[in-house]
């Protein structure tokens, strides 16, 4: 088991395993850095609606490709379809939460479940299209890395690289928009465009992640790394960087673990590695971790019992006053 794991880490357990490991690492890095802004804008779960609403698009793309005479298994075609229906889903969430009285969380839940339900209907239509026709579209639910092709890995690599590049170029307006939309618009940032850009980035990550992680769990890859990174730093750039590293690490380690033992599905393992990083951050973070917090409480208690004045809130004096320079408000 350990041997196999080390081998997989060093890309020596075969061509397919190496492809998966590289692809997963790139995907994780892209997801972590793109998810940062959604998380800071407090819209992390919009990506869940986004991910679930890809299913009908995948099915429609498959049906169209079969009707046009193909096999329907062209990954690029399927991903194009998934992006179209994810875009429609996010648009409806936005429309419901701005044009009706429904809050955004209800809109997210409604779109997530109905789009997914419609996708399942289409899946059963596909099953009945030709007797014995196995489309294998179910593998997009939880991801499937068996038989990943070089083209697939290339698609993920290019898509991920583009997403990371975009985030790096636009980190300033993106960060301003996520903290203080009103202020951002007074200094000339086009908030609407930035919100749209965040959605498009998340959509890109979801679409390229369908193959490896699957649509049910991809939301975790967008949410967990930024939340974990937020424990270690108060600066946006570092949150983004760390989230990218955590995401990449989850993808790489997860792929290696799943390659080293049987019956280890890649997608869930990647998410669980991410969850482990999150738990470590929650416990060990020097600023807001469980250990530090408990120690601080105990010290305050001891001082109270001894009759000493209690410390003023740590960091209260030295805390940054505004978030304009990319500092986060410590109370967040």
């Amino acid at each position: 088991m350990w041997d196999a794991f080390l081998k997989a880490l060093l890309f020596q357990s075969g061509y397919n395993a190496s492809l998966v490991a590289i692809g997963a690492a790139l995907l994780g890095a892209a997801a972590g850095s793109c998810g940062t802004f959604l998380f800071l804008r407090k819209r992390a779960l919009v990506s869940d609606a986004l991910a679930h609403s890809t299913l009908p698009g995948i099915c429609v793309a498959f049906i169209v490709m079969v009707l046009l005479g193909g096999t329907g298994r062209n990954l690029a075609g399927l991903l194009l379809g998934s992006a179209a229906s994810a875009g429609l889903g996010v648009f409806v969430v936005h429309w419901l939460s701005t044009r009706t009285r429904l809050p955004e969380d209800a809109a997210i839940g409604a779109i997530l479940s109905t789009f997914f339900g419609f996708g399942v209907v289409l899946l059963t239509v596909i099953q009945s299209m030709r007797s014995g026709y196995q489309a294998g579209l179910e593998s997009f639910l939880l991801g499937s890395t068996a038989g990943m092709l070089f083209e697939d890995a290339l698609l993920i690599a290019v898509g991920g690289a583009l997403a990371v590049l975009f985030v790096l170029l636009f980190r300033r307006p993106l960060a301003l928009t996520s903290f203080d939309p009103e202020f951002a618009s007074t200094v000339g940032v086009r908030v609407g465009a930035m919100d749209l850009a965040m959605m498009l980035l998340a959509m890109g990550v979801v679409v390229i992640g369908l193959k490896i992680v699957g649509l049910v769990l991809i939301v975790a890859l967008l949410v967990i790394p930024p939340v974990a990174a937020r424990f270690w730093t108060d600066r946006v750039e570092f949150v983004m960087l760390l989230a990218g590293i955590f995401g990449g690490l989850s993808g790489y380690l997860g792929a290696a673990i799943s390659a080293s033992a049987p019956r280890m599905p890649t997608g869930p393992i990647i998410i669980l590695v991410g969850a482990a990083i999150f738990v470590l951050s929650l416990v060990l973070s020097p600023r807001r971790g469980l250990v530090v917090e408990l120690r601080r409480r105990r010290r305050a208690q001891a001082r109270l019992l001894a009759g000493w004045p209690v410390d003023p809130q740590p960091d209260a004096a030295s805390a940054p006053q505004a978030c304009v320079r990319g500092h986060l408000d410590p109370s967040r």
């Binding site: 809109a107 339900g117 009945s128």
Partner: protein, 308 residues
């Protein structure tokens, strides 16, 4: 509408209706409390609970499964609260972290366990097996009066019926504290309503509805029915009483319409295969919500002009 209908469609249809109503009732309060996604979270974490219960007890009997799923739901609720409080993470992200991690753990456990002998897999968890809940012993409407045939009805029907009745009774009994604490928590506390207990009880009741419905109809219907009918009802009225009635009507409409469209719709179109009833029920509930969002009399926020 003869013997074949009673045998093949009556029980799944009834189960779907009961599940839809059982989910829609607590969904109304979750929606108003901005906790609509709690149902989503619960229906994800039910999976690891059920797999663990199976691992420990070795069966998929109702008791252990229900217990495992409930335990997982409560565990997840506590975990979300912990992440929110200790890590000062915003609620949406905290929920996302916890439920997706637990779902991933559930999938892994499922892959590692030998479940070839029982009916337990991820697809079943997502879509349920509504179509398979048929009543083979029936041979016509008169079977409803035949005790021997009634005994061989799918047990899911009785379980779902009991849960739906329980939830309806609880909703009526605790109407006042529920309503008060949903709209004005501070006021509710001053007149002596234990608001914390009420919100905890609401989550537990939701979990009961989710777990019972999950087993029979899968998690898509559960999430759709927790959110869509109450959301559509919210756009029809400004009174909670009326909203709850609307939500029940919409839930029943979705269940019946979805089941009929899924089971018979393709046949009308000339295909020989039915499509997923669970998926169709969710789709119909979404269409109802869309109609309410386009034409519902109270679709705007108060203060905004209604004419658009």
């Amino acid at each position: 509408m003869g013997a074949e209908f009673v045998q093949l469609s009556l029980t799944p249809l009834l189960i779907a209706v009961l599940a839809a109503v059982a989910c829609a009732l607590p969904g109304n309060f979750l929606l108003l409390r901005r906790q609509a996604l709690v149902g989503d979270a619960i229906s994800h974490v039910v999976l690891p609970g059920i797999v663990l219960a199976f691992l420990i007890s070795g069966t998929l009997a109702t008791g252990p499964v229900l217990l495992g799923a409930m335990a997982a739901a409560v565990f997840a609720a506590v975990l979300i609260e912990l992440v929110k409080r200790v890590g000062k993470v915003e609620p949406g992200a905290a929920m996302g972290v916890v439920f997706s991690s637990l779902f991933a753990a559930g999938v892994l456990l499922l892959e590692q366990t030998d479940t070839s002998g029982v009916h337990l897999d991820v697809e079943h968890a997502l879509y349920g097996n509504l179509e398979s809940l048929i009543w083979l012993a029936a041979d016509g409407w008169h079977s409803l009066l035949d005790p021997a045939a009634l005994k061989r009805m799918p047990t899911e029907l009785f379980r779902m019926g009991a849960v739906a009745i329980l939830i309806a009774v609880l909703t009526v009994l605790f109407w006042r504290p529920l309503k008060l604490s949903t709209f004005d928590e501070g006021f509710a506390r001053t007149v002596g309503v234990p608001t914390l207990l009420v919100s905890f009880a609401l989550v537990v009741v939701t979990a009961i509805a989710v777990v019972a419905a999950f087993d029979a109809v899968g998690s898509i219907i559960v999430i759709a029915m927790l959110i869509c009918p109450p959301a559509a009802a919210r756009l029809m009225t400004n009174r909670l009483e009326v909203q709850v009635v609307w939500s029940v009507v919409f839930a029943i409409l979705s269940a019946v319409g979805g089941y009929v469209l899924g089971g018979y719709g393709p046949l009308w179109l000339g295909s020989e295969y039915a499509v997923s009833a669970a998926g169709m029920i969710a789709t119909v509930s979404g269409v109802i919500l869309l109609c309410a969002a386009l034409w519902g009399p109270c679709r705007k926020r108060i203060g905004e002009p209604v004419a658009s």
